[in-house]
Amino acid sequence: MLPELGHFALVLALVLAGLQAFFGIVGPALARDRWVAATTSAVAGQFVMVATAVGILVYAFVNFDFSVLYVAENSNSALPLMYRVAALWGAHEGSLLLWIFLLAVWTLAVAIAARNLPERFAARVLGVLGVLSFGFLLFTLATSDPFRRLLPAAVDGRDLNPLLQDPGLAVHPPVLYTGYVGLAVAFSFACAAMLEGRMDPDWARWTRPWTTAAWAFLTCGITLGSWWSYYTLGWGGYWEWDPVENASFMPWLVATALIHSLAVTEKRGLFKSWTLLLAILAFSLSLLGTFLVRSGVLVSVHSFAADPSRGRFILAFLGLVIGGALALYAWRAPLLKSNVGFDLLSRESFLLFNNILLVVAAATVLGGTLAPLIADTFGQPSLSVGPPYFRPTFLLAMIPLLLLLSVGVHANWKRGRLEAAARPLLITFVVAAVLGAAVVFGAYGGRHALAIIGIGIGSWIILSSLLDPLDRLRRRLSLSRAVLGMTLAHIGIAVAVIALTGVESYTNESDIALAAGMSAQVGGYDFKLIGTEPIEGANYSAIRATVIVSRNGQAITTLYPESRTFWVQQQTRKVAGIYNRYGTDLFIALGDNLGAGRWSFRAQIRPLITLLWLGPLFMALGGALALSDRRYRMARATARAGVTGGARGEAY
């Protein structure tokens, strides 16, 4: 009975999303204030219905209701509780429901915060969000109903994909999706502005915190995914330029451009139509990502089973949303001209170059991701585009971007005067270059020119970003959270750059064959196999190896890499043994029984990899800090009072 109620709740949610879209978009257009007011009620109703559906599906998972097909396919009576809940997003139907639920959460949050916005504008934002909810709900009900019954019920379930039975993967999809879906809010703010045909002077200030929040979630989500693949896939990789990784990375690049262009729009009223375009692009890329993952058109680690009807539906929805938004843009953007000038070396210019480089980077990633599809479509030989293409092209856009970042943070709005900052910039540049060379030659042996550049650039960004905040502290001036957040995020990207440089240039890896008592040397560390033993987990059997790692005869740690075979699907998954020593990971994964008492292992020494997870964390925390800045709360208070303010706030 309950699953039918869940299905019914989704149908009601669809109707309410339709009403939300209708009232929100048509109400303001026809100036019907009652319709406008009804939008919020539709939002609340839709949220309750979607939450009910999610609750019912979780209940079915927790209580082993194998008469629901989706539960039977993705759960099992031996599956621990935590993974029974996480199994909700273990496959296509549930992930889609999660997507819809998160969209409903964002929409509800917007509706609550929008009580302080002009009524008609808020209704338009909610209306556009309603269109998106409607599309996804229709998609779910038409092609991917998670409540489909399995009659007679299965005796036991087919179990959750063993790769997903991991704490890292339990949290990665919700966080990533929260970021993906959050970009829909920026998209809706952009569409609402275009529907109004004018951009309120406070528009950018309203949009910024939402965009920053979505971006911060996206940053965390991508990093969690990378971290998970690093320690569970058994090959020790953290980024392979896989199509699905790219699908999450492209919206991130464009969202990064968007939060910078929003700064210009807020502070100077410039780049208005460009900001709108970026908001459309960022969300379009996140929809495109969904299409690529769900339709199975691309070959990837993450693709779910292909279903052409789903692919066609998403493609049509994608065309409708992107096409509609771009048509609206072509029609309305010319109304939003701004005629303010700025100098070549002003902050505006630097942010413009930041935007161009980020969009170019996103475009090269998009090109490489879609090339195999395009080649197939035109009957060319099948291609595979991998790291050899992505790495150099991506660096090409990133190196100038990072160099400009160090200088750009010191540029003033409007005026192109950099003289005051020239001396400290030069000094920090020299210090950073010396530091880069010292680290490379001193600590690791100077084999890589790129390593000096990477560590040099990273150090320069850190030093240069700290100049202004330290100067303000010394003069006992206040520091706004926005400036602190920006500084922290910039330091985060620098930390990530340094980490990437270290990992890429100085990783030592080797596949080795060991028998008990034997040892092998990798990157100056000795890995000695003590032995292997079978062990039993909650729903798997495993082989666990005991490996002692030592350096110069000094034992450092004992690692226990495992190879787990899950009972139901008879699938094997590795759990690497990892020990972190001063930011360097000593990594060992257990391979196969080679016969003759030997086992294969993959051993890796990855310097600085800890920083690779810390950098993005700093970025996300920086975003969180910036969006808690008081001027966003002030903006709400003034908007409520009906005052439209000019440039208030700090120099940032």
Partner: protein, 144 residues
Amino acid sequence: MTPQRRKRLYLVLGIVVGVGIATALALSSFRENVTFYFIPTEVAAGAVHGDQSFRLGGMVTTGSVHRVPGSLQVSFLVTDFKHDVPVTYTGVLPDLFREGQGVTVHGRLDGKGVLVADEVLAKHDEKYMPPKIAGTAPVSRGGS
């Protein structure tokens, strides 16, 4: 030309030149770094030129996996049920590498028509068949 316009002209010129260079470099890098993807029938038909590296997709022939006991070197046949290509690989195989299942291998042909692999990928799905043989593609990695 007013100074304002001149500045804007420089800016636009700079952007055009920059984006142009980036596009040119991306395209040339693309041409040099793209890998072709073949199935055994295409390899048998001579699609591979010289020591060009490429990806081979197919199924691991049942009973063809051989290993010298205790060594990391393994050999197996990749088939599309019309032709076979022998493969050798030294290293850790991915978790889902199994006889009778789909696999993608990257490497070069040696003089005797044996593919010397530097990377072996297998799909996290027992129903997987490589593209051209069926429809979808690979997932778990083992490379060196």
